[in-house]
Each structure stands twice: as C-alpha cells, then as structure tokens.
Symmetry: C2
Subunit: 362 residues, 2 copies
C-alpha cells in the first residue's frame, strides 16, 4: 500500500468505494489529515467509520481513479481544493457537512469573494429571466460573485448576469465537474470555465442523478452570504435551496409577483415565512451591510490566500486597530490589508467597528 | 337657551362653531353627557375647551343646523349614532380620537359586524380591481363587512364585492353623508344606502375638502379588524390608511405584484415594514383567527344592540361557561347568545377558551 502525501491522500479518501461523506468527515475529525488516517490501525478506523473503512486498506482498487484525478488536476484551469487548503471557501466550513474536497474548473480565487446565490425555476417566465439577469448583473457590478446551479431558466440567466461584470459567477454542479449538464447550457458552461468557476464535490465522471441535486443545492446556498429566489413554484428545488440557506443562517430574499402566477407562489411562501421581499438589487445590498461597510470595490483584489495561521490576526492582537496601523505592523499595502480584513470578517474572525476600526474576535 | 335631551344635545355640541373635535372630546371626558356640559358654568367649560367654549352658550346660532339634522335623522334609513349609543362601533372606541357622533344612511346593524377595510388606488389596474372585488366578495361570504371609502378604483370594486354577499359593506365618507362624492359613484352609493351603510362623522352638507380625507381614513381603518391594501403607489392615501391601521393595532395585509408596476410599490413597502403578504382571501381569514374560532356564520345574526350594561355579561360571572349554560341562564337562543359572545369577544370583554367555553374579562 503506497499512499502519496497531500492531494493524492484526499482523493484516495474520498474515492474509496462504500465510504460515505459522513464516514469521511468522521475520520477526518478523529485523525486529522488523510495521511494520519491511512497510517491508523484498521480497528481504529472501523470504530469510527464502520465496516466501510476496510476499503481504505485496499487502495489498489481506487489507485486508478486517484491517478486519473491527479492527471485531470494538472490541466490548466483545473484544481482540487481540499478542506485543508487556504482556498477552501470559509463559508462552507460553517455548514453542517462541508465536502472534503471540491473539483473546480476556472478561477478558484472567486471562492474568496463575497457572493450571493440566485436560484429559481427552470421554466421561468421571460420577465423572470430578465429579472434574474438584471439583478445578477447589478450584484456582480457591486463585487458580489453570483452562485447558481447551471440549470435552464433562472440559473442560466443569473450566471449570464454575473459574467457581465466584475463579480463573475460560480456554477455548482450535481455531476462531476468534467460533465456539464444539461447539454443546453454547454456554451454557458464554457464561458464560466474561462471567466468564472465550475465547481462540484462529486468525483469526476459522476453522471446526473436525482439524489445528488439536493446535496448540490446545499453548496449553492452554503457558498453564499445570501440566497435570492427569483421565480419558483410551490414544490420546487429552489424552495429547498432557500430553506437550506435559512437553516445555514443565510439571509433569504425573494422577488414577489402576481398572485395569479404559479411561479410566484414559492417566492410568496418564502416571504410569508420570513424571507425579505426585494424589489431591487439595492434592497439586497442594503441587507448585506457587512459588505457595504467594508466596500465592495476592495473585494475585487481579495485573491490572496493566507496560510491557516492568519498572519494578519497575529498583528491585530485583541484591541481595536485601524487599517493604517495594521499596514505598518504587517508591512502590507492598504489594498491588501483591506481585502484580508474583509475575508476575516466574512469568516467571523474579525469585526468591523465604527470609525474604521477592526477587532479580532478569535 | 333651551337644550333638548339626547340626540339634540350631541348635535348641538358637535355643531357649535369653532369647537373642534379635541375640545368636544375633552368636554365629554370631563363632564360626561352633553346635557351635563350645557349645564356647566362657562368658566369651567373654558378651562377644558378654551375660548371656543363660549360658542356653547350661544346655542341660537346652531339651533337651525340642529333642527335640520334632527329632521334628517327622522327620514327612513337615516340615523345619528352617538358615542353613548349601544350601536356605536366598539372598535372605534379603541382609537385615539373616536368621533362623538356618526351620521349614517342604511343598515346601522352592520356596525356590529366583524369587518375588514379594503383600500387602494383610484387609478387601479383592471387586475387590481378584479382582485379587490373577488377578495371582498370572499370576505363578505365569510361574514365580514367590507369597509372602504367610496372612491373610484379599488374602493368601488371592494364595495361592489362586499354588496354581492351577506357581509355587505360600509362606505366611510369624507363629506357629509348626504353628499356622495365623487359623482361617478352615485349609483354605487345608492346601492350601499339600501343594502349597506354610508357613514360620515362630518356634519350634513360638509363639502369635499382635502384635509378631511385623512380624518376619514382613520375611521376606515378604525372601524375594521384589519386593513387590506390591494394596489397602492408609494405616496398614496392608501398607505396612510394602512399606517393608521397599524398604529391603531389593526392587522395590515397587502397583495404583492410585479416589481415593475408603480401600483405595487406601496404594497411592497408595507410588506417590508411588516404587513402580511396575502395571496388569497383565505390568507386573511386565517390571520383573523378570532372570527374563525367563533365561526363567521353566526355573525350574520349579530344585529342585536344590547344596552350599555351588557346583560349577557351579568349572566356569565367571571368563571368559564359554555354556550348552552349561558342560553339557559339568559333565556336566549343559541344563535342569539353566539352572536352576542362574538360581539363581546371583538370588544375585548370576553375570551373564547378551548372546548367551546367563554370567560368574561372585564
């Protein structure tokens, strides 16, 4: 049994047949990094992950899939982001079941941006599509990355709006990231692969399967600070995504419409349950005050990926400090420090105080 | 100076030139019924109502107006309801400035019914008018009396819907009740005078004046348990009525619509501020649980006007009691007792308990 360090270990762990996501999380929680898991006695592994842990010692069976994924990851624009990577989206760490790794095609730096999910019906009305596109474009211009699911209808319109401005867009797939589904959106997927980010937690080659879409939906909401529903019927996947967003502590927004249209009933149901009614992109931006306070513009340069020990935090101490003092202490530019502070604020590690001061929280 | 007892005193008091509504309320609060006011020394009256109280001792000037009003009140269908009358709407007593008297044409027994205000734009869309009419008709069928302002557009549609079913409708005027304004609605006003109720607090012959309409609007909301806004622009009288309703502790409901229509912006603003988004009449009825609990049907017979001492309350004591026992004690039919209980519940004097029991509150 030969286990590579680093990415190969993560791939091996997640590609082991029969070892589910919960078992993988259990093992990671118990033993830490994959190399520790593979070094642990089988009895200990089975105590945590049950009989499926036996698969971990039969690595030959998954070796081919691991090698294939490693080769895939070497291609330009391809990446595999693990829980241990600094590039792993902080907001996903907050959800109940963060995926151990993410396969991405495109610009992984978008994962560090403030973002908003936009979801809705596949069979949207022309006006619904126009709303999705226009709202997404306004958010993107304000620096928010648009997260959606690359479905027909509202999803596609939201991605297109995101691509039109600086914030760009992330498409979360329910298949392997090397398959784009549905085929109708192949051209859009190609644009996103170049100017945005395609993302999936599912192994390469995973075909479309109904039970994978709810899992996918939790990433759409989990990756974003809020979730906007544009048009949705009462029993629809969009509503499930919105409810997941609420469970994840995300702000839920919905666009109202005629009481006689079936595609507004989902939005109205959400508003009745406490979602914010929005008439304009400004309504949403006003709610996401954390972003407004630090300024969207600065987030456009937030592409740095500091190490796990967050050097800026060590320069902060636990007393309120202004940005200039931090720049002097850390020897970094205002631009860089502002971007870092935004990221740390989004991760709940620093708080912005009145008067432009910042305070470390943990 | 000769002051008639009863209605003439109320008319004299409210028709005295220069004596405003606040002064009249102050005098009534201080001295009780009008005859006590007219019997009080002028110095005492002026201490409460200021120099305008002088007008009270120059009764000859208003005698003609009083006589005219008394003659008017004798005509079939005409009535003047004073604060001291049992027919005076209980809900109006809850507002900050209940009018001392109400001039009515039609069926004053509608004042004892559970009711809902429906307001909206004069320049409503065809769909808005249809919504107002259909919602009003559904509420009316459920036993709610529709209260509105006899304006063009949503008001007219709401009245028409109310007239189509048992609950009927009350039109609150900003002019004297003997003038119907606008003329366009003269035919509707005639129907309401026969099958519903026209109501005004303003003296007979009072012409339309802009400053009277906000005062009128507080009665529209004050007479009703809730206020539904169907279509309204952002700066509109309907929104003022809705805000007054909220201040009066009434439930506010609004129908959403396209974010691109100016006539939904008022409704959306209300929903953002906490109004309930409604898609159907059932949404409203579900909120007005007090009515549902006791059943709308029973309210159709709630036409009795018991005296101020509420004989049924004396039969209740302060222990929970069921309807059958109350019927036996009071010697009244189940229908009559149920109607009375509903009225008392709406007035906040009894509470409905689980298991069909009722308890006196004060």
């Amino acid at each position: 049994m030969s286990i590579d360090r680093g990415l190969a270990g993560w791939l091996q762990l997640t590609l082991t047949p029969g070892l589910g996501a919960a078992a993988v999380r259990g093992l990671l929680t118990q033993f830490g990094l994959p190399e520790n898991i593979f070094a642990a006695p089988r009895a200990q592994l089975e105590r945590v992950a049950g009989p499926a842990a036996a698969g971990l010692s039969r690595s030959d069976e998954t070796a081919e899939a691991v090698q294939k994924a490693l080769r895939w990851a070497e291609a330009p624009g391809h990446a595999v982001v693990t829980l241990a990577d600094a590039a792993y989206p902080r907001l996903l760490l907050e959800i109940a079941d963060p995926p151990p790794l993410l396969y991405t095609v495109g610009r992984p730096e978008l994962l560090a941006r403030p973002s908003l999910a936009i979801v809705g019906s596949r069979n949207a009305t022309a006006q619904g599509m126009r709303n999705a596109q226009q709202f997404a474009q306004a958010f993107s211009a304000a620096g928010l990355t648009i997260v959606s699911g690359l479905a027909m209808g509202i999803d596609a319109a939201a991605h297109a709006g995101g691509l039109a401005e600086e914030g760009s867009t992330i498409a979360v797939l329910g298949t392997g990231v090397d398959l784009t589904y549905p085929r109708h959106n192949a051209a859009l997927a190609e644009r996103i692969a170049r100017a945005g980010l395609l993302l999936s937690e599912f192994p390469l080659g995973t075909p479309g399967a109904a039970h994978n879409f709810p899992r996918r939906n939790r990433l759409i909401s989990g990756l974003a600070q809020g979730c906007l529903v544009v048009e949705a019927a009462l029993a629809s996947g969009s509503l499930i995504t919105a409810r997941t967003a609420a469970e994840q502590g995300r702000e839920v927004f919905a666009i109202p419409g005629s009481i006689h249209s079936p595609l507004t009933k989902g939005c109205h149901a959400l508003i009745k349950q406490g979602a914010k009614l929005v008439e304009s992109a400004e309504d949403v931006l006003a709610e996401l005050t954390a972003f407004r306070r630090t300024g969207f513009a600065s987030t456009r340069t937030a592409t740095s990926q500091p190490g796990a020990d967050e050097p800026l935090l060590t320069h902060m101490g636990f007393d309120p400090v202004d940005v200039e003092s931090l720049c002097a202490r850390a020897g970094l530019s205002v631009e860089r420090v502002s971007a870092e502070l935004l990221r740390l604020e989004l991760a709940g590690r620093v708080a912005a105080l009145p008067g432009g001061m910042y305070q470390r929280l943990n």
